[in-house]
């Protein structure tokens, strides 16, 4: 008898409490997969959402809706007035900020809802857009929808090209870390149906302060991430060589404490894929190695110098030094120590193959 009572009570609870769960039936909601923010004036921002409309046997169509407001959630409310089905954020893929917005008013407040919303995955990509995000979303790229296309571009560049690994999780970790400053890729609408990755932008306390172009990205990635599949061109007198299958690792070492001196060692391995000179000799190979090392040393050092001048630290020297020194004081670090930090870059390049026919 007692078990019947228990079952009854449970059944009642299950039935009645299920009213507390909100239903979101897949085909009765607008799954936004991209959101972009543009600068309007000092106070207001304009939000643009894009959601796909799936059509059988065809690439999805993109619907773009915009709203203007002070807060991100308010923007969604504003947009909701224009949408027939509830807008949900759970399948978001990219969040874009216009460069103007990022430079002028910063993105700190805009980031907040994304870290609070449990429906938003931490693996989504953030990017800065040269131009307006609304304009970018209104194009038609790829066959899988605009946001998916943009996220695929970033994904592909992280996997096989020169963009260091980044996503919401990493951005937020850097953002809240005192010893590191966050970065985002920059994308640009090139034409009606082409989006391009043009570089990396660097933030200081939520505001965009510096950008580098895509040709410098290779060196930035050497400094902060490791390569498993990369490509770079090296020019010497005898010709130009393309080095493929680059693998790299970096090590930081604190060698002096007063003044602080950090040595960055970068080990690079690669295969010569293409050479437009006459013939490949072993000593040409050595020459290539030397040239490549020289390039790495120069460019990386230049990058670091530039970061120090702008007082940003996307490489995370602060974080690294803190792990090496007991009683490390971030205040001092930000005031003077970082600017005075001496960074040395050492690189070892090894070309393991030069092609089958020599």
């Amino acid at each position: 008898m007692k078990s019947i009572e228990t079952i009854l009570i449970m059944a009642i609870f299950t039935l009645f409490l299920s009213g507390c769960v909100e239903k979101e039936i897949l085909d009765d909601i607008n799954l936004i997969d991209g959101i972009g923010f543009d600068y309007v004036d000092g106070k207001k921002i304009r939000g643009t959402i894009v959601f796909p409309i799936f059509i059988k046997d065809k690439p999805p169509e993109n619907r773009v809706l915009t709203g203007e407001s002070l807060l991100k959630k308010e923007i969604l409310q504003d947009i909701q007035l224009q949408a027939a089905d509830p807008i949900v954020t759970g399948s978001m893929e990219v969040v874009l900020f216009s460069k103007e917005l990022a430079t002028k008013s910063g993105i700190t407040e805009l980031m907040d809802p994304f870290q609070r919303d449990p429906g938003v995955g931490s693996g989504i990509y953030l990017a800065v857009v040269e131009g307006e995000t609304k304009e970018l979303f209104e194009g038609k790229y790829g066959v899988r929808g605009n946001s998916t296309h943009i996220s695929d571009i970033i994904d592909e560049n992280i996997r096989n090209e020169d963009l260091p690994k980044t996503n919401l999780q990493i951005f937020l970790a850097d953002f809240y870390s005192e010893g590191k400053s966050p970065f985002m890729p920059i994308i640009k609408k090139k034409s009606k149906d082409v989006v391009e990755l043009t570089g990396v932008s660097f933030f200081n306390k939520g505001k965009l302060v510096e950008t580098i172009s895509s040709d410098k990205m290779f060196f930035f990635k050497l400094l902060v991430d490791k390569y498993s599949e990369g490509l770079h061109r090296v020019k010497i007198e005898e010709g130009e060589a393309a080095i493929r299958s680059i693998r790299s690792v970096h090590h930081y070492k604190l060698i002096k404490k007063n003044p602080m001196e950090v040595e960055v060692t970068i080990d690079v391995q690669g295969i010569i894929n293409e050479f437009n000179g006459d013939k490949m000799y072993p000593n040409l190979e050595r020459k290539l190695n030397k040239q490549f090392e020289k390039e790495i040393n120069q460019e990386c050092l230049a990058l670091v110098k530039n970061f120090q001048e702008k007082n940003i630290d996307p490489i995370g020297f602060g974080h690294f030094v803190k792990t090496q020194i007991r009683g490390f004081d971030y205040k001092k670090w930000h005031e003077s120590l970082y600017k005075d930090l001496v960074v040395k870059v050492k690189s070892n390049v090894e070309v393991t193959e030069a092609g089958v026919i020599q």
Binding site: T14, I25, L26, F54, K56, S91
Partner: protein, 502 residues
């Protein structure tokens, strides 16, 4: 006042009835057309004797060929002489008139001599009508023995005895059912089996008070530990090889006259997913198929509830590439996911029921009509999405992979509570349902032995024959949970093949 009056009257009537019955017993029997009573006279001694039998139970050939010639032509004066002149093994002399009825209805012929009506002689002349041993149909296997139990108890015992020709194989027989008088045989291997289990089975079967037993499933249901559980707690098998194998592991088999299925107890959940064919294959293959079967069962129970849960609550879980397929196939459907799923699941259940009830040839047609026509038509009509159609069809297919038919039925049923919970609570509901199911399984016992063994209670050694079947080398000991009196069943480890190196 009125009540007591009626009661009294009733009682009187009853006792009168009984009296009538006893006096009319002879008449009652003679009312049946197949009751035969013939009087003969012995040619040599001129003794008059009477034989009585039920013609539908008795093989008249035996009477004509092995009894009457001797009774008529050989000399006999007393009833005790008959034992010597009849060339029939089962001849009994008795003075107890109560036995007459019982013997008559078990295929004996009753012989009385007119001069001495106190004593009776019974000799057996049973008619053996039954089908021949055929190929197992429910538990079919491609390789291995191809014989299955039939409805006759003796024949079934013969099949088992042939595989275990030792004196330790004990066959105990009892009768169950006031009307059906069904013979029930409890079979076990003395010295291997745990006596406690034997006593439990015996006691439970002896306690049965029921008018009739049609099939072994009746016994199975009655002796189950928890009669409200959808899970079968005794395994039924139609394969004598399987029964012989589990007997030698230390389990108990119950065979019921008139049923082609033997009951095996105690059993565990895992056993329902192991086919006997697993033991006939190499262990790697066998383990692979077992894992596939377990996966199929999990799939079959969970796939449609997960579909409902994901589509109703957890759209975040769906990969971007799948979204397009799901949304486009669902957009035209007017129902929420739960109704869509219920519609298809019930259709499949209908097809299954119809297919099972109809004669084989019509059944096939129903399968084709149902599977192809209804399936595609309902997708085209926009009642269900084609993604779901695939899921439901696969789930139905997966539920058929269970080697024991009974557990397949359980799996068919289990899906529905899960569906309901998925609709109400999403994946949390499924988790809740799973917890309830697990609680139920943990508490379930078979003959008082844990049903979820070796998972709970954890018996690591018994994993050798559960999700995977380890090679025979690893099966040197009988399963631990059977508490066998002699756990070892193979020669100890380490004998190499004694081949001669040349």
């Amino acid at each position: 006042m009125k009540n007591s009056f009626f009661k009294k009257g009733g009682k009187d009537k009853e006792s009168k009835d009984i009296k009538d019955k006893t006096s009319k017993k002879e008449n009652l029997i003679s009312m049946s057309k197949d009751y035969k009573k013939v009087i003969y006279t012995n040619e040599k001694t001129n003794i008059e004797f009477k034989i009585e039998y039920i013609s539908s139970l008795v093989d008249e050939k035996i009477i004509q060929k092995s009894a009457l010639p001797y009774l008529l032509e050989k000399e006999f004066t007393k009833i005790t002489d008959i034992k010597e002149i009849l060339p029939i093994a089962e001849v009994e002399i008795s003075e107890d008139p109560k036995q007459i009825e019982e013997r008559l209805f078990t295929g004996f012929v009753v012989l009385t001599i007119s001069s001495n009506k106190e004593k009776f002689c019974f000799f057996s002349a049973q008619k053996e009508i039954g089908r021949n041993i055929s190929v197992p149909e429910v538990e079919f296997s491609v390789i291995g023995p191809k014989e299955a139990f039939v409805e006759t108890l003796e024949q079934n015992l013969n099949l088992i005895r042939k595989r275990l020709p030792v004196k330790e194989l004990i066959v105990e027989e009892t009768t169950v059912g006031q009307l059906s008088k069904t013979k029930v045989a409890i079979i076990y291997l003395q010295g291997v089996v745990d006596d406690e289990n034997v006593n439990t089975v015996k006691q439970r079967i002896n306690d049965i008070k029921i008018d009739q037993i049609t099939d072994s499933s009746f016994i199975g249901q009655i002796i189950s530990d928890n009669r409200n559980s959808p899970f079968p707690q005794v395994l039924d098998s139609e394969r004598p090889d399987r029964v012989a194998a589990v007997l030698s592991e230390g389990k108990i088999a119950v065979i019921v006259d008139g049923s082609p299925h033997a009951l095996i107890a105690p059993t565990t959940l895992i056993e329902f997913f192991s086919s006997f064919e697993d033991y006939l294959l190499n262990w790697i293959l066998a383990s692979f198929f077992r894992v596939i079967r377990l996966f199929a069962v999990a799939f079959s129970i969970l796939v449609t509830p997960l579909y409902v849960a994901t589509l109703t609550y957890h759209y975040e879980l769906i990969p971007q590439d799948l979204l397009s397929i799901l949304i486009t196939s669902r957009r035209v459907i007017p129902f929420p996911p739960i109704l869509e799923v219920l519609f298809l699941e019930l259709t499949i259940e209908l097809l299954r029921e119809a297919g099972a009830r109809l004669p084989t040839k019509v059944g096939q047609t129903i399968g084709i009509v149902g599977g192809i026509v209804i399936g595609t038509a309902s997708v085209e009509a926009g009642l269900t999405s084609n993604v779901l159609l695939i899921f439901v069809a696969l789930a139905a297919l997966a539920s058929f992979t269970t080697p024991v038919y009974r557990i397949g039925n359980t799996i068919r049923l289990l899906r529905f509570p899960f569906l309901l919970l998925a609709e109400l609570w999403g994946i949390i509901g499924i988790a809740l349902g799973f917890s309830l199911l697990l609680t139920h399984l943990i508490r379930l016992t078979s003959l008082g032995r844990p049903y979820l063994e070796p998972i709970y209670p954890t018996r690591l050694v018994d994993f050798k024959d559960s999700f995977i079947r380890l090679p025979l080398d690893a099966q040197r000991k009988r399963p631990l949970y059977l508490r066998s009196e002699s756990p070892k069943r193979m020669n100890p480890k380490g004998n190499k093949k004694k081949d001669i190196d040349e």
